[in-house]
């Protein structure tokens, strides 16, 4: 994918204080194949993108001539618009496809839709899908396209985890040793899964709290055949939120979908709120200056109290702002990489 633009990209890189990492990365599927160094490199680039977003004229020519398609098979506001804005600020041509009103309505398979986009010369496909692994299917079959996972089933949401880590680092100064408490429906959370990979790699301490019924059984009890050096083996689970939150630097509430009550995971929302709602009182047990985070969309008054969601500790809006910058950094990384984009990844 070396193009006549590469000089321009280089100039942009200097202009925007981007890291000088010659990335071979083709896809962003999850954070499990990111090293700590690469995560830090992305976060550094994100800082440069935040600077661009703060300019009077939010437009740089970096990705001029690149085509980015967002394929959303699940509803989304912030993630889709965030990717669209990220692409447009970098001057990419961004095309939005949703499953309704497209050939998906006619029963076209995900794979055939992907092949069609590849044949049209699309450079990057951003995909959200209700099934875990859908971006992997595309990545496996589309050698000429970069795939970014914008959320797949219960599996992963790597750009969310990166924006969460950027926000934490920005506010705390360092991720290493930070005590991060993730609260709520871990079982059904792709955000939690990607954060587990990312945070453990950069040396943060992760504590999961929430109802036992909404926790993967293998994290609750014995770790099965998990190897000791596996990142998930370093995660602590404490269902007593009042205890887990002590000394926390970050408290991240996860979205609780109301259907969890109807399918029997919870006796009632009332009991959930009593035991696991992130409140000002509970936050009082955390470290002074602890951050309150939420990947959105929030159910205020359920997993998080309204006053806390909009209070001084909340960095929820900063997460959204940083989300655009993180996605700019990733689009830059995939399109500007000098590595081999043709063929399978290692």
């Amino acid at each position: 994918m070396t193009t006549p633009d590469s000089m321009a990209l280089g100039n942009d890189a200097r202009d925007m204080a981007l890291t000088d990492s010659a990335s071979n990365r083709r896809n962003v599927l999850d954070l499990d194949d990111f090293s700590a160094e690469e995560i830090f490199s992305v976060l550094d680039d994100t800082g440069a993108m935040v600077e661009v977003l703060g300019r009077d004229i939010k437009k740089v020519p970096t990705l001029r001539g690149r085509v980015v398609v967002t394929m959303f098979y699940e509803s989304s506001t912030r993630t889709r618009i965030s990717f669209e804005e990220a692409g447009k600020v970098l001057s990419a041509d961004v095309i939005n496809m949703s499953s309704s009103g497209s050939s998906v309505d006619k029963g076209e398979s995900l794979l055939n839709t992907g092949l069609t986009l590849q044949a049209m010369g699309v450079d990057v496909v951003v995909v959200r899908h209700p099934h875990a692994g859908a971006p992997y299917l595309l990545a496996r079959h589309l050698p000429k396209v970069s795939v970014i996972n914008a959320g797949d089933g219960l599996h992963a949401h790597p750009t969310q985890a990166l924006l969460d880590m950027y926000t934490m680092r920005e506010k705390l100064g360092s991720l290493s040793g930070a005590r991060v408490v993730i609260v709520g429906d871990v079982l059904h959370s792709r955000v939690a899964r990607s954060n587990l990979w990312g945070l453990t790699k950069v040396g943060a301490q992760v504590i999961l709290s929430g109802p036992t019924t909404l926790m993967p059984l293998d994290l609750l009890g014995g770790r099965g055949e998990l190897e000791e050096d596996h990142p998930f083996a370093q995660v602590d689970v404490d269902t007593d939120l009042d205890r887990a939150i002590q000394g926390a630097d970050v408290v991240m509430a996860l979205r609780l979908q109301s259907e969890r009550q109807h399918s029997g995971f919870l006796p009632s929302l009332r009991e959930y709120i009593r035991r696991w709602q992130v409140t000002e009182e509970r936050l009082g047990k955390a470290n002074p200056g602890a951050l309150v985070m939420h990947p959105g969309p929030m159910n205020e008054g359920v997993e998080i109290s309204t006053s806390l969601a909009h209070g001084d500790s909340s960095v929820i809006e900063a997460q959204v702002t940083n989300g655009v910058a993180v996605r700019m950094a990733l689009l830059y990384r995939l399109c500007a990489g000098q590595g081999n984009r043709i063929g399978d990844d290692p």
Partner: protein, 453 residues
Amino acid sequence: MINRTYNRPVLIKGARIVDPGRGIDVVGDTLTQEGRIVSAGPTLTPSNVPDGTHTIPANGLVVAPGFIDLHAHLREPGYEYKETIATGTQAAARGGFTSLCCMPNTDPAIDNEAMVELVKRRVDSDAVVRVFPIGAVTKGRKGRELSEMEELAAAGVVAYSDDGDPVYDPNIMRLALTYTLDLGMPVINHCQENGLCCGGVMAEGWIATRLGLPGIPAAAEEAMVSRDLALAEMTGGWLHLAHLSTAGSVDLVRQARQRGVSVTCEVCPQHLYLTDEWALGYQGDLRCTAGSRNYDTSTKVYPPLRSRSDVEALIAGLAEGVIDCIATDHAPHEVASKEVTYEEASFGISVLETALGSLLSLVHGGRISMSTLVDRLTVGPARVLGPSFEKYATLEAGSPADLVLFDPNLEWTVDTSQFASKGRNTPLQGVPLKGRVVATMVDGRLVHQDFGV
């Protein structure tokens, strides 16, 4: 089904003869003539061999009774794009299987005499190995009313099963086990408590957690195994448990056996060789980095591939004899049904052509003896099918010449493009195996030979 014009006599010279039904494991000669075994054991002098005999030099090879598969999906009628009786039995011949029992989850289901006749007619014209149909337990496999089980018996089915689905209703299962008391054939159940599966697509555990895929807990199988064992104990009916996959199921069967419950059971090659780690897409090697190979849909199978400790318990149960036999659950699928997301993909693995190669790893690894392996592929399944099938599971003089000749040490790499089966869906694609079928004979006629190796 089988061409009745017999080839000339065949002498398999110098092979290791493994015939567990007779307790024989010796190097010697095997002679077949006019579709029957003449002799299998002692070395024959030329005077004992008829003129015109075709001799196969077989030093270093193993000859055994042809394998009997209690559990195969031949897909015909209704799903001929996945497999046919012709392609499925050709795959069987390549895998050393001389008899297959075909499951009735066709479209329409094999739940009445006319459907059995249709299958038998297709078998007569297309099959290269013996095929014995299994009849549905309930009409249309819907789980509500018993099929006409006696009529099915008269038409020639060898067992009953709604496989693909369990018999969900415990009272229907009770009645099936009771109604078959005087029919002399087992009810085969696919044990899966759906209320515990919750849309699961792979074994519950940390691999499923990592991949974000809904898990199927071991208890989903064990809960129904427990139920069925209690029903078999109460009714005295003959229960055969299909494709056990968990350590807990092996324990339940062991305990029931000790109480005298009439239960038999099977395990599949895939559950003795593969674990859930293979869903990560790099042949179970966890040292590899993650990448786009994750979510290998060819590992999606029911019951799901489970943990290493389950595999160990199944191997122990097989060695001990708690598990009577190995059945393939050969479940071929067309490419399109696997080139989708893991959650959308069809359940099933194409097994017939890799079964022996993967199973021999247990022998090479010293986990079970060659004789035990052959027993579980021949004597074991014949016992489930009844006394009239014993003749297919022995090399005794006078028995039908159904046999397999294999090289236990031949190393080869699985290449699904060479499969006879239409189903190319196996996680073993590209995987090296040790041990391969050289020839398969049904009724004295070579139905597969691969001497070029």
